[in-house]
């Protein structure tokens, strides 16, 4: 418990620096290009367009919801959080290596390093959420209370994948196996987490229960309940239980791994 408080406190003390460093990291991504920020959004937008074309027009698998929300909103509800999650799974799991100089050249709380990266990515994600909302309102969808689930989803996603990225990057600093494991799992996770198929339509009971323990599915579900299904997450208590279990397990894993490795990491990275 005190370790957890320590992780939070060390970052809170450096909040301004963490924020500035995050903005620098973001600016850096646009370096060497003329169009700069355009590229940050170009890739996800193209992805969404391609998936929408392939699924709705190509495979004709898309259908609107019973209350008139178009398929595109369902698709974006899954893909928009996925882009953030994908980055946190990919670069996020070796983020200490990316900011090596903060680990072994400068005295800086290592718990704050994943936050820098997560904040920078969050800015891009918020841009995508804005795009989602623009599309949502362009289709004439109503401004209602269900949309409040989006900020909840963003906060949960931020915290959960911070914990994931911190744990994974501590582990991959010690052994590269973790990094390879996560990179290998990234694509399977996309196809298995219900980003582009509907988990709740499967009709296979046991598989549905397992997927309730998948945090990626949970976040996508929250987004979709907000913009497409028009449901509240507590109408699906199993999803909340599953996510809570995984969330707590992740937190425990982070604290244990942090305790075991933080003194060694600057020596081995």
């Amino acid at each position: 418990m005190s370790t957890l408080l320590n992780i939070i406190r060390s970052q809170w003390e450096r909040r301004e620096q963490i924020f500035t460093l995050a903005m620098f990291d973001l600016r850096k991504q646009g370096r060497g290009t003329v169009l700069g920020p355009v590229w940050l959004f170009a890739k996800p937008v193209v992805y969404i367009a391609v998936f929408w074309f392939a699924l709705e027009i190509g495979l004709r698998s898309g259908s609107g919801s019973s209350n008139g929300a178009p398929y595109l909103l369902w698709l974006m509800g899954g893909l928009v959080p996925w882009f953030y999650i994908q980055t946190m799974l990919g670069t996020g799991c070796s983020v200490l290596g990316r900011f090596k100089y903060l680990v072994n050249k400068i005295k800086f709380p290592i718990a704050g390093i994943p936050t820098i990266f997560a904040l920078a990515e969050m800015v891009i994600h918020l841009g995508m959420v804005l795009l989602l909302l623009v599309v949502y309102f362009l289709f004439g969808q109503p401004l209602d209370a269900y949309l409040l689930q989006i900020p909840v989803a963003i906060v949960l996603m931020f915290v959960f994948f911070y914990m994931f990225s911190f744990t994974a990057s501590l582990l991959s600093a010690v052994s590269k196996d973790f990094k390879n494991l996560i990179t290998t799992l990234s694509t399977p996770l996309f196809w298995l987490s219900g980003i582009i198929f509907n988990v709740y339509d499967l009709g296979i009971q046991w598989l549905q229960v397992i997927l309730m323990f998948n945090p990626i599915t949970f976040i996508a579900t929250l987004f979709r309940y907000a913009v497409y299904d028009k449901m509240w997450i507590w109408e699906n208590p199993m999803a909340i239980i599953g996510f809570a279990v995984v969330f707590i397990a992740m937190m425990v894993a982070m604290v244990v791994v942090y305790k075991r490795t933080y003194e060694e990491v600057p020596d081995v990275i």
Partner: protein
């Protein structure tokens, strides 16, 4: 100080001034510090050490880079660490800067540390020189006002002309070193750690560096740690020398005695 009877040279006067600038407050204290690096047999063992206690794993060796090291440095002192490769100098300095943790014992540091450890490391290649100064200052926890003062000072000292607003990847190694040195000496450190960094740049810049370090050292609040293989550089700057070998402290005394001891080793 040494008690030789020759007429006081300008260096000696400066040395006396430095001596007078030492206060009684402790700047750095090492209390029975041991730093152990574990060398695992292979990656598998390192990996396993995360899950099953670190002690049980097979080690090729466990190296004490610092072995039961104890010393105290008062505020305003200038101390040289002498020793050959692998004596544990850099490890000790890393613990002073706070980027490595002691395995046993405690390290106490009072004051803001500015380290000249591997000057060029830690620059972001895609950002400009000016941005890198800003970034590093941020990472070290400077306030906005401090940064506003620090950035132009560093820019002026590094004297890179138009290159200051170019990405670091365009820099030569000498330019990077100048920027790194400029940052370290402009940041008004309370503890300055110099790790053989003065051997950078051309002759003119080196002289500028020496002059600046001397200036910093005359300030009574600044403690300087100087790490070197060469005793002549140490004698120019420091009044106290600590000789290390295999992580142990072999000698601690005036710089003249220390460098004589080191040369005789």
């Amino acid at each position: 100080m040494s008690s030789n009877e020759t007429a006081p040279t300008s260096e000696q006067i400066a040395a006396d001034a430095r001596q007078a600038a030492v206060s009684d407050e402790i700047a750095i204290e090492f209390d029975h510090v041991t730093k152990t690096y574990k060398l695992y047999k292979d990656d598998k063992q390192r990996f396993a050490s995360i899950f099953w206690g670190k002690k049980k794993r097979e080690l090729v060796a466990s190296i004490n880079a610092n072995d039961d090291l104890s010393f105290r440095i008062r505020k305003g002192e200038a101390v040289a660490f002498l020793g050959s490769n692998g004596a544990g100098k850099s490890t000790a300095l890393k613990m002073v800067t706070g980027v490595a943790y002691p395995t046993k014992g405690t390290v106490t540091v009072n004051g803001h540390v500015s380290a000249l450890l591997e000057l060029t490391a830690g620059f972001d290649k895609s950002l400009t020189g000016r941005e890198n100064i800003y970034l590093r200052g941020q990472a070290l926890g400077f306030t906005k006002e401090q940064l506003e003062e620090l950035v132009p000072k560093t820019v002026e000292f590094a004297d890179l002309g138009v290159y200051i607003d170019q990405p670091i990847r365009m820099y030569s190694s000498g330019m990077k070193a100048r920027l790194g040195f400029g940052f370290a000496v402009s940041s008004d450190p309370e503890i300055l750690v110099v790790d053989e960094a003065l051997a950078v740049g051309d002759k003119k810049f080196r002289e500028k560096c020496y002059a600046r370090v001397r200036e910093i050292m005359e300030d009574e609040k600044v403690t300087v740690l100087f790490v070197t293989h060469s005793s002549s550089a140490a004698e120019e700057f420091c009044q106290r020398g600590i000789v290390l070998d295999h992580g142990r402290k072999l000698f601690d005394g005036t710089i003249e005695e220390a460098s004589a001891f080191y040369e005789a080793m």
